[in-house]
């Protein structure tokens, strides 16, 4: 079956972000989405370490160590940016003022639970950062992930077995095989990539899936 690559998936997500949206892109793969936002549209990026109106990475030699994103990578600030402290920044998120947050995942459950901060492996050093705040804060939480783990297990599950990041918080999952909406009745297939079929997805995930009917 045909899958799409990570860059293509980032592009696919970017195309769903409307002009004027306030968006937080999580650490890791979700940051790639920024590269595909059309330059003629204004989308305002939030980074939880205190900046609204984040721009792209600086040119080499123009790195400002005071100006970083949540992944601690150097960034720039656009005209129209604003800085604020951590309580204000997380209040902005927790208060539901951001439109979209894009996050990675270990698992997403059929009821929209998210697990993305800990594998629960014994001996691992726990570290949650802003993951739990991001998970419950935005109006829409999109997950960007491969459908399967490297071991071939489905990341879409009936119930998460990894430690939870948030309960019932995910609204949509973008994977390399298909896009899924989380509905009251479980996962609904919104879009299939390449030749993937719903039957194949059901086989891969072990879940009963519905195809979204355009109304």
């Amino acid at each position: 079956m045909t899958r799409i690559g990570r860059e293509e998936l980032a592009q696919r997500i970017a195309s769903d972000i409307p002009e004027g949206a306030y968006v937080n892109l999580g650490i890791g793969a979700p940051t790639l989405v920024a590269n595909y936002l059309p330059s003629d549209l204004e989308v305002i990026l939030h980074t939880e370490n205190g900046l609204l109106g984040m721009g792209s990475a600086p040119a080499p030699g123009l790195i400002d160590p005071d100006l970083i994103n949540a992944g601690k990578q150097p960034v720039t600030a656009l005209a129209g940016a604003a800085y604020f402290h951590h309580a204000d920044s997380f209040g902005m998120m927790r208060g539901g003022h951001l439109d979209i947050c894009v996050l990675g995942a270990f698992q997403v459950s059929a009821t929209g639970d998210l697990a993305n901060w800990s594998t629960g492996a014994p001996g691992a050093i726990p570290a949650v950062g802003g993951a739990m705040d991001l998970a419950i804060g935005a109006k829409a939480v999109y997950v960007m992930t491969d459908l399967l783990t490297k071991a071939g297990e489905s990341k879409l599950v009936a119930e998460c077995t990894y430690p939870l990041t948030g309960v019932g918080c995910v609204s949509r999952v973008y994977t390399d095989h298909a896009v899924f909406d989380v509905t009251g009745g479980g996962f609904q297939v919104r879009e299939l990539f390449g030749g993937t079929t719903v039957d194949e997805l059901e086989q891969l995930t072990g879940l009963s899936l519905q195809l979204r009917i355009e109304s």
Binding site: N49, D66, I68, H85, P126, G129
Partner: protein, 245 residues
């Protein structure tokens, strides 16, 4: 005349007692008060509880304090980073305690301490293992957990400019935890690039009013700024590259 400035970083951290809770500002390296931490190492206080978003980078700053064995307990959101080998080693050896707090709850709990809030219901962490044992309540159909303030004996923060009343402004995302930690500690110490004359800071743009600050000390200016203008010239760890001017 009120003058909160002190001549050197040793004066700035004088009197920190063994067993203190010390907040340390910064998010990664941005806003980390490295010179104050160096002075604290020199000062010698131990058995500390450190409240800081991360648990040190590389071998300097907070990592150096940890390496000296001065810290009994870390309260932070994200200890594990690519360059947090000092903390990682202590943790695996069972030589340090760790309380993990989701970053927004960490910020709001610090803010609550400064603002005299007894406790608050947060939606963050509900239903996760980090909320286990915490009081939960449903309000207007949404689930919340009760979170308590985090206070400190001392806060060490880094700002950009300050005046003798302790008013502070910050720079870009180096602001992060400084303003809320300043209000949450009994004694707040700020290192600044530059102490300016009273009245030189725009009162509309002061981020931390001096009431929250007890001591101000000027340290070597950050290499990437000259006269308030970004001039580039360093890598992400602050090492010189080239100066554009």
């Amino acid at each position: 005349m009120i003058d909160k400035t002190v001549p050197g970083t040793a004066d700035a951290v004088a009197g920190v007692a063994d067993g203190s809770t010390v907040m340390i500002g910064g998010f990664g390296r941005a806003g980390q008060p490295v010179e104050l931490i160096d002075a604290l190492i020199e000062q010698g206080a131990g058995d500390l509880t450190i409240v800081s978003n991360n648990a040190g980078n590389g071998d300097t700053g907070l990592a150096a304090l940890l390496a000296k064995g001065r810290v009994r307990r870390m309260v932070c959101s994200f200890p594990r980073q690519h360059d947090s080998w000092v903390f990682d080693g202590l943790y695996r050896a069972g030589e340090i305690e760790l309380e993990i707090v989701p970053q927004g709850n960490l910020a709001e709990r610090i803010r609550a301490a400064g603002a005299g809030i007894g406790a608050f219901f947060s939606p963050t962490g509900v239903g996760t293992e980090l909320a286990e044992g915490k009081e939960e309540r449903t309000i207007d159909g949404r689930r919340y957990v009760l979170e308590y303030p985090i206070k400190a004996d001392v806060a060490l923060i880094s700002a950009y400019r300050g005046d003798r009343w302790g008013n502070l402004i910050y720079r870009e995302t180096a602001r992060n935890f400084g303003p809320i930690m300043a209000a949450a500690a009994t004694t707040t110490v700020a290192q600044v690039d530059e102490v300016v004359a009273l009245g030189a800071l725009d009162p509309e743009a002061v981020v931390t009013p001096g009431v929250f600050v007890n001591r101000v000390v000027a340290v070597a200016p950050r290499g990437w700024v000259q006269d308030g203008i970004f001039v580039g010239g360093v890598d992400i760890e602050g090492r010189p590259l080239e100066v554009l001017s």
